[in-house]
């Protein structure tokens, strides 16, 4: 039985249709990546799935008592709020100390327990957010462009961490990404979104699909070029990375 099922949903921002005609089902243990150009409704779809964006039509059904862990795209922590990492992990539900420490250790930030949230770097905050998301032993992890603002090596490490977490916890992963080339290797299924679902399937199927090439493959190479480089591994990535600066 799927963890989350969306049936023919439509989400509007005022009069504009941000997402329409989208149906999808997330199976336990599956890694699903949603890709699409800016403004394609990726984040909106994800917000609807966590219950933050109201549906104009259609339905979203969750498995009974679904445990969901959510990692937002960014979280601006104002210095006006004094809040330690340990206290943050107690929001909104209090969690036993041992469990909080285990979650921080799992995402590699156990040393930050008593630091102020507003003093963390982008990468540290992402790992703390991930630690918070796994506190309730989630059946599904939902991540919205979790590597935004991280450099390429840091992104790669972060994705590897998510992969390991999936293997350890046996949870499904639903992730929005604009960096198709990085998440490709771990993803079971890619959904290419541009308001509606243009194409979906395994990474290989999607990159070969005409609809995908139309979205990502035109112009000056861009994402498709990066993706091709990914096949020759280690030394290609840094070169591309340098060239893009």
């Amino acid at each position: 039985m799927p963890l989350i099922t969306a049936k023919n949903i439509e989400i509007r921002h005022g009069a504009t249709r941000a997402v329409f005609g989208v149906s999808l089902a997330l199976e336990p243990g599956e890694i699903v990546t949603i890709v699409g150009p800016n403004g394609s409704g990726k984040s909106t779809l994800l917000r609807a799935i966590i219950g933050a964006a109201p549906l104009y039509s259609g339905t979203i059904t969750r498995a009974h008592n679904l445990r969901l862990g959510y990692v937002p795209q960014t979280m601006h922590v104002d210095t006006a709020l004094p809040l330690s990492v340990a206290r943050f992990l107690n929001l909104p539900r209090r969690t036993p100390l041992a469990k909080r420490r285990a979650a921080l250790a799992r995402t590699g930030v156990e040393a930050l327990e008593n630091r102020q949230l507003s003093a963390l770097s982008g990468g540290q905050l992402q790992r703390v957010l991930l630690a918070r998301a796994i506190l309730n032993d989630p059946q599904i992890l939902v991540l919205d462009e979790p590597t935004q603002g991280l450099d390429q090596p840091a992104s790669a490490t972060f994705y590897r961490l998510i992969e390991n977490l999936r293997d350890d916890l046996g949870c499904g992963v639903l992730m929005v990404s604009h960096e198709l080339h990085v998440v490709m290797s771990a993803t079971d299924r890619v959904i290419c979104l541009n308001g509606h679902i243009c194409c979906e399937g395994t990474p290989a199927v999607v990159t070969a699909a005409p609809a995908y090439r139309e979205l990502f493959g035109s112009g000056t190479g861009g994402a498709l070029a990066l993706y091709r480089h990914d096949h020759d591994h280690a030394h290609a990535d840094p070169q591309v990375h340098e060239a893009s600066h």
């Binding site: 104002d78 709020l81 004094p82 929001l91």
Partner: protein, 264 residues
């Protein structure tokens, strides 16, 4: 009850009650950047006074209704063509001007405008005390009840939704509480300085607090100290009570900043 007949004791009780109502709520005003929102709500209170007199209802009730109406109007209009600070600037000052004009149309004997602009703590009645302390209990009780959820919502609405919370409803509650605080504290500090009573103790507490609960506790404590010392200073120097209380809070803000600097 003889004790309560002493006007100074009544004034002190009113000031302390107001400080308690403002302490923890003021932290949310600071965390959520609602200072201008507080101003707009407070300025609308003058209009509330005028309308309460016109329709012969109790002044706290009139203030509560008009302040709440203003708060809801701000919520309804925000996110449109204007930036929030322009919108609040328009609404806040329009409400104040409209209130001042409305009050000036009242027969002069009925309204002491200064009392509502700057507070008139020395004529606080027993009924006022009940309103103030009742308001303080409701504000603190609701904040304590929703504390965890409200904190999570300060950080991120999406995170709160994903945890099954309803940030929109809780935001509405904060709006309501701010209107309530305006209604109960207008007699103590006056419409022009209510926001100061919300923000200055909380900002001072931020300088020395390590956690959100500590900040709320310090803000309340700083507000209470400012209320009592300001009141007695006002009596000693013959200065208006409301502004004197805010001066006390400002002095404590400076002290807290210094302590925060020294501690690093």
């Amino acid at each position: 009850m003889i004790l309560l007949d002493d006007f100074m004791v009544r004034a002190a009780l009113a000031a302390v009650g107001t400080a308690i109502a403002c302490g923890a709520l003021g932290c949310f005003v600071v965390w959520r950047r609602m200072a201008y929102f507080g101003d707009a709500t407070a300025h609308a209170a003058i209009l509330g006074v005028a309308l309460a007199l016109l329709f012969s209802v109790s002044i706290p009730l009139g203030v509560l209704i008009v302040s709440l109406g203003m708060a809801l109007l701000v919520g309804r209009l925000s996110g449109r063509a204007m930036t929030p600070d322009s919108l609040l600037g328009v609404l806040s000052h329009s409400a104040l001007a409209l209130g001042l004009v409305a009050v000036s149309l009242m027969p002069a004997v009925r309204v002491d405008l200064d009392a509502y602009l700057f507070g008139d703590i020395l004529v606080v009645s027993r009924t006022d005390l009940i309103v103030i302390w009742g308001g303080a209990v409701v504000v603190c009780g609701l904040l304590a009840w929703r504390w965890q959820a409200l904190l999570a919502e300060v950080l991120s609405d999406d995170l709160a939704y994903a945890s099954g919370l309803n940030p929109a409803r809780d935001r509405m509650m904060l709006t309501l509480l701010i209107a309530a605080v305006v209604a109960v504290s207008i007699k103590v500090v006056g419409a022009l300085l209510i926001t100061a009573m919300l923000i200055i103790p909380a900002a001072a507490a931020r300088m020395i607090a390590r956690g959100p609960e500590q900040m709320a506790a310090y803000a309340t404590l700083i507000g209470v100290i400012a209320a009592i010392s300001g009141l007695y200073a006002a009596r000693y120097f013959g200065t208006p009570a409301g502004p004197s209380i805010i001066c006390g809070a400002a002095a404590l803000f400076c002290a807290a900043s210094a302590v925060g600097k020294v501690r690093g």
